[in-house]
Homo-oligomer: 94 residues x 7
Amino acid sequence: MLKPLGDRIIIEQVESEETTKGGIVLPGSAQEKPQEGKVVAVGSGAVKDNGERRPLEVNEGDKVIYSKYSGTEVKFDGTEYLIIRESDILAVVN
Amino acid sequence: MLKPLGDRIIIEQVESEETTKGGIVLPGSAQEKPQEGKVVAVGSGAVKDNGERRPLEVNEGDKVIYSKYSGTEVKFDGTEYLIIRESDILAVVN
Amino acid sequence: MLKPLGDRIIIEQVESEETTKGGIVLPGSAQEKPQEGKVVAVGSGAVKDNGERRPLEVNEGDKVIYSKYSGTEVKFDGTEYLIIRESDILAVVN
Amino acid sequence: MLKPLGDRIIIEQVESEETTKGGIVLPGSAQEKPQEGKVVAVGSGAVKDNGERRPLEVNEGDKVIYSKYSGTEVKFDGTEYLIIRESDILAVVN
Amino acid sequence: MLKPLGDRIIIEQVESEETTKGGIVLPGSAQEKPQEGKVVAVGSGAVKDNGERRPLEVNEGDKVIYSKYSGTEVKFDGTEYLIIRESDILAVVN
Amino acid sequence: MLKPLGDRIIIEQVESEETTKGGIVLPGSAQEKPQEGKVVAVGSGAVKDNGERRPLEVNEGDKVIYSKYSGTEVKFDGTEYLIIRESDILAVVN
Amino acid sequence: MLKPLGDRIIIEQVESEETTKGGIVLPGSAQEKPQEGKVVAVGSGAVKDNGERRPLEVNEGDKVIYSKYSGTEVKFDGTEYLIIRESDILAVVN
């Protein structure tokens, strides 16, 4: 599996045309729209001035909204993932 | 519901043509005008140098003025919201 | 009333054609000229590295000079105001 | 009188064509040339990381050299001044 | 051998056309795709504000994913390497 | 005389065509070449985060090499000087 | 001799066409290729936040690889040198 570094997070993208129950409608053709995904791995946290790491605010399994054109796409074991920094995560869906 | 991260805030936009009582007139056609909205969720705060979080200055339910073209729009449960950083909030309406 | 956030200040603009007594002549047509105004509200201060707030140097009622094209204009209760950061204030008129 | 904020300084410009005794020749037509002036007011100092203010290095009455196109010009009581940041002052003339 | 400085890492590039077992498919023609490689040397770490060094998160022998156009290519003893900063490493492959 | 502020240094330029003994040949026509000069005055030092000043590394009388197009030229008592920041000094000639 | 300031280093360039034994082949015509050189002098170190200096990681006599177009070339006593910042050094050759 992939282990992201620092404040990076790995997300499995949710198809943007689907409408999740009580959820977010994100037509696939609309540009500059936020995107929904599921967190599959989180880094060990951003480094503070004193050299310690600050744990991330999101956890494995969280459903998150992020800016569609953030991060870098990778393909691993046939699945596409997005490696993104925590600061590009807009909100967690509860 | 949506939970914003860090110093982000979720705002429900107020229609810009309406005039609130004793309030702000913001014609919808005017560009670069500030916009009025209601805070529906706030993040856990910006991270300080020592790794602690500083609570935000705005609270749920506050009426705020923000720069119209700040943040990212999301649609959730049929309502449009704006996810914005606290630094893009100009003032609270008392 | 409006309460500015952080290091922001709300100013009521003084008509630029008038000449205040022993004061500043600022012809309205001249571009890139500084502008005179009166402070009507101040934020709770800029955030320091340790998370505390540093009180602002200007107070309600101060007459100030600021750069004409700084800040954001808002209309509230029929009066036009400017929301501006303290760092865009050039000087206080005593 | 005008009281500059923070690390700002108010300067009364010296005519650039004149040659001060044993001083600096600065032909008025030359562009990008440094300019000579007299300090008439200084701010309370730049803010340090801990929130305290560091007093400025220049004092009222100092003759200084500064970059000609720095700062903002204001007219007050019929005299033209320049409001400039301390970091735009190049040297003090002793 | 080569010893990278600070937060730099030396990577031996893996041929991008090959498909590692249960691994990442990275067609060589695709631009802006992440790239897989093996860490062959790591620097002594980034410098913290207090002058100490923070050890790197990756170790010799790690398989890593990095942005294809990061870093600087060098040839040493007939082998091509990439010298890259740790912040350009996206994830470690476990 | 001129007293530079902060981390600034005043340099008297050495004619670039001359070849100092056992020294540096800097043809005057070559662009983007470093330049040799003599330090005639130094500022009180750059300000540290805690508000104290760090003394400069160069001293009055030092022969230094600096980037030709750095700094600001001033004429004082008939001599041309360059006011330059310490960070634009490349090396001291011993 | 030349004494570099701060985090600067003086390098004597190695001819890029030659192949050092068990070393690096760097054809002179290739652009944007890293370059090999020998350190002949090092500065007293970069300044830390507390005003102290952090000693450099490279020492006199080290063979280093650096980015070809970094730094500033100077000629001294008939030899060409490069004055470069430590952060532009990619690796030390052991």
